[in-house]
Symmetry: C2
Subunit: 96 residues, 2 copies
DNA sequence: TAGATAATTAGATGATAATCTAAATAAAAT
DNA sequence: ATTTTATTTAGATTATCATCTAATTATCTA
C-alpha cells in the first residue's frame, strides 16, 4: 500500500491543532469565516491559511454567500481519512 | 473537549510519512531497528529520531534483546488514537 | 461611485522539525 | 581486553510551517 499525495495532504491537514479545532467547530454545522474566527486569537490571514490547507485536503468545502464564505465539513473525505487511519493502525482489513 | 498534550503528541507522531510507514511495518509484527531500517533510505540516526517520537507518543514499545532493540506497535494507544480521530471527524458520539 | 465589510493573497519572520555526520553507549564475539 | 555490531545521542544544517502586517479582491450599501 503506497501513500498518495492526496492521502498525505489529509494527514498534513490534521497535524495542526488549530486546524483540528476548526474541524471540530465545523462538525457542529456550517460557519462563515468570521464565525470561525470568533473562536481564535490569531489573525484573519492565518485563519485563511489554515482554511486553505483544509480545502486542499478537501476536508472542507466553501460556498459564497454575499461577501461571506461559508465553510462546511466534507463528510465523505472525513470518512476516507477514518478509513486510512484504520488501515494504518488496526488489524489488517484489506491491506497491501 | 480540550486536547491534552498526550493527544497532541499522537497527532504529531502520525504527521510524518516516514513514521506512518514505520507504523505500517510494525503492524505486521515486531521488528528490530535494523529490520526497520532495511525499509528506508535515511540514516540510522534519523530512524532513531523517528522512533523516539513514536515512543514518546507511546504508539510503540521497545524491549531489549541482546544488542538489538525490538519495537512493537502499542495496540491500545493505536485504538485510543482511532477514538480521537472518530471524535474529531464523525457525527457526535459522546463529545463535549 | 465611494466607502465599508469580508476574506484572501503576498511577502517576511521566527519557530519547529527532518535530516546528516560524528561521537557515545552498550552488548557480543574474538 | 579489544574489536565489532547495534543503536542512541549531540550538535549542526536545511526545509517546512505558523504567524504577522500590508496589500488586494470582491461584494454590499449609502
Amino acid at each position: 500500500m503506497q501513500e498518495t499525495p492526496k492521502q498525505e495532504s489529509l494527514f498534513t491537514a490534521i497535524a495542526d491543532m488549530q486546524r483540528r479545532k476548526i474541524l471540530a467547530l465545523l462538525k457542529q454545522g456550517e460557519m462563515s469565516v468570521a464565525e470561525i474566527k470568533a473562536n481564535f486569537e490569531f489573525s484573519g490571514a492565518t485563519l485563511s491559511h489554515h482554511l486553505k490547507i483544509l480545502k486542499q485536503a478537501e476536508l472542507v468545502r466553501v460556498r459564497r454567500q454575499g461577501q461571506q464564505r461559508i465553510y462546511t465539513l466534507n463528510l465523505s473525505v472525513a470518512e476516507e481519512l477514518m478509513l486510512l487511519m484504520n488501515q494504518l493502525l488496526r488489524k489488517r482489513e484489506s491491506n497491501e
